[in-house]
């Protein structure tokens, strides 16, 4: 009897000490994740298991361009702090992408149920984001002029994607010109690309992005992109429609061309997970009313993408390559409410032909297609 009482007492004490420690531990975990660069950290205690509690943890990390590495980092922090049963939900601008858990070292992902999405959304707050400022060089080069073979224009973009509400953000910044022997744009510090952007997964696996403002590549207007991007499939399909005009900055002024152009594109992309290669076929009307198609092969490395493309349009044909790399050193300053870093995904493209603009689009840096590609969970265990 005494034995039983002892056992009961021990269990009783353990139970309550566990419970008391809980709230404190969760706060510790949150601040550990935050100091590692995570934002919008939301921890939901769910059910009590035999050997601890299951936690659903919502996270977003804007300094790492590979979601698999985001998950690995979050998992290593939470296990080292004694959280053994966790499921991680990745956010993009506070919107749920999907849920992942670690099962004997492999990442298993699934769609998150609506109930839990709602729980996360109730706790969402724009104040859970830092002012996450990044520095990004913009380099345009035109090769091939006989006398001056490398004409270039370099400027430095310093800006931020400021999340105002769930999925809704203002992307803005300044552009500091460094050097220009390419065109006649002024050498003053000017407004960088600035636009409002709304991102949503409006139905399971159906994503949309609506942007309006002044974009990269000297286009202003509206840009609407839809993508069917199933969590476990290799094929994804996208549609894009944009109505834009040309803008540029002459001396002490900004010039908006009043003529608007339509762009509509259909895109099929298939992932070969074993080789981590995406084959993408895009066709429709590009800028300059140029209809045609573009075939693109993208190899996905851990933090780098390398692509080779070939374009055939009314205007002509061209080929080239593009890449995406994270810039060093990464984080420069990080405090509770502020972060200053280099861009986690700097993109650049080289096209063989520079006679006329063949199959040109704009704002590829922030396109839905490029954002979602890395979130394909079939890739997570392949790096």
């Amino acid at each position: 009897m005494l034995n039983f009482m002892n056992k009961f007492l021990i269990i009783f004490i353990l139970f309550f000490s566990h419970f008391a420690a809980n709230a404190q531990d969760v706060d510790k975990l949150k601040s550990a994740l935050q100091s590692a660069g995570f934002e919008q950290v939301i921890v939901l205690p769910v059910s009590l298991l035999d050997d601890g509690r299951l936690y659903l943890i919502g996270i977003e990390h804007r300094g790492i361009n590979n979601p698999a590495e985001v998950l690995i980092l979050a998992n290593s922090i939470s296990t080292s702090m004694g959280f053994l049963h966790t499921k991680f939900t990745l956010f993009y601008k506070g919107q749920v992408i999907h849920q992942s858990e670690f099962n004997n070292g492999t990442i298993v992902s699934s769609n998150l149920s609506d109930t839990y999405s709602r729980d996360f959304y109730q706790k969402f707050s724009p104040r859970n984001y830092r002012l996450n400022t990044f520095i990004d060089p913009e380099i345009q080069i035109r090769f091939g002029n006989f006398i001056n073979p490398i004409q270039s224009k370099t400027s430095l973009f310093i800006g931020s994607d400021i999340v105002l509400a769930r999925g809704f953000s203002l992307f803005t910044g300044i552009a500091i010109p460094i050097q220009n022997d390419l065109d006649s744009e002024s050498n003053n510090v000017k407004l960088g690309s600035s636009y409002f952007d709304y991102f949503t997964q409006f139905l399971t696996n159906h994503y949309a992005q609506l942007s309006a403002g002044m974009f990269y590549d000297d286009r202003y207007g509206v840009d609407l992109e839809y993508r069917y991007f199933p969590n476990h499939a290799n094929l994804s399909v996208g549609l894009r429609y944009a109505k834009t005009g040309f803008y540029y900055f002459p001396e002490n002024a900004v010039f908006f061309e009043s003529k608007f152009e339509n762009l509509y594109l259909i895109n099929f992309e298939y992932l070969f997970p074993k080789d981590r290669i995406n084959v993408s076929l895009e066709f429709g009307q590009f800028l300059n009313k140029d209809t045609g198609l573009k075939l693109l092969f993208i190899k996905q490395y851990k933090n780098i993408e390398v692509g080779f493309f070939s374009t055939v349009t009314q205007t002509g044909r061209t080929a080239g390559f593009n890449f995406m790399v994270p810039l060093i050193p990464g984080k420069i300053i990080r405090t509770r409410n502020f972060e200053f870093r280099t861009n986690d995904s700097f993109r650049w493209e080289y096209s063989y032909s520079n006679e006329g603009e063949i199959g040109r689009d704009f704002n590829a840096k922030k396109s839905l297609r490029n954002t979602l590609r890395r979130f394909n969970s079939n890739l997570y265990n392949r790096y």
């Binding site: 290593s76 080789d275 063989y352 790096y383």
Partner: protein, 252 residues
């Protein structure tokens, strides 16, 4: 899988492809998560590109990437030093297909195909075989043998003063391109995957080279062409599938 083979550096030719001095080799390197940047110099007498029969000292800037096990992509920019008004230079692209590998088939067999872009004067198409023979744990040698086509399928150029009469087989020598035209072969010696020696016949000359790899990334190479001219090459490898330290490290 990525680090199993220890990021072994393979000997490259002056184009930055797996190879000896100037000829390529078909060896199947297990590592493929890397990109190689290469810079080399060819003196006037041994120029390769010849830019429409305009001989000059030539600088080669190239990049080699192997996105799939059986395919590598090679980009080469030739900058002839003394040829004015050429813009960025000659831009060349080719693919190397690793068709057979020694592990499964006893020999290595590769093909290099240059797609017809009508842009470059160093387009070449060839097929070649090799077999690596281990002498000891750290020393091996590899005979290579191959054949390169003497003609390219392309359009005639304007400066040949012909009408545009479409794509056709044209002798490479008409463009001053003598690179890999006919039978070639050589032997590569590999010591500890760090020091390499090569001797070869490249369809024109007999060449020798020796190179050393430092820090697993930097390769310095001296080439002795035709037993008369000494020249050099530098290449640097970047491993693309490594985690950035900042992404996996954390402090409590």
């Amino acid at each position: 899988m990525l680090f199993m083979s220890g990021n072994v550096f393979s000997q490259t030719n002056f184009f930055g492809k797996p190879g000896l001095v100037r000829i390529p080799k078909p060896s199947f390197n297990e590592d493929r998560d890397n990109v190689l940047f290469n810079f080399s110099y060819m003196p006037r007498e041994y120029s390769v590109n010849n830019f429409m029969n305009r001989r000059s000292e030539e600088l080669f800037y190239s990049l080699n990437l192997r996105p799939i096990n059986w395919l590598s992509v090679n980009l080469v920019i030739t900058r002839p030093i003394d040829v004015p008004r050429i813009g960025i230079g000659d831009r060349h692209l080719d693919f190397q297909f690793y068709v057979l590998n020694q592990k499964r088939y006893g020999i290595n067999l590769s093909m290099i195909l240059s797609p017809t872009l009508d842009a470059s004067f160093i387009d070449h198409n060839s097929v070649f075989i090799s077999r690596e023979i281990k002498l000891s744990k750290t020393l091996s040698f590899e005979p290579v043998f191959g054949y390169g086509l003497k003609a390219n399928y392309r359009k005639r150029t304007k400066s040949m003063r012909y009408e545009d009469d479409g794509y056709q087989w044209i002798k490479k020598s008409k463009f001053g391109n003598y690179y890999l035209s006919g039978f070639f072969g050589g032997i590569s010696i590999n010591a500890k995957d760090k020091v390499f020696f090569s001797a070869e016949y490249d369809t024109q000359y007999i060449n020798l080279s020796s190179s050393v790899t430092l820090f697993k990334k930097l390769n310095l190479k001296a080439m002795y062409l035709d037993f008369t001219q000494l020249t050099g090459q530098v290449s640097y490898t970047i491993f693309l599938d490594k985690s950035l330290k900042r992404n996996v490290k954390f402090h409590e």
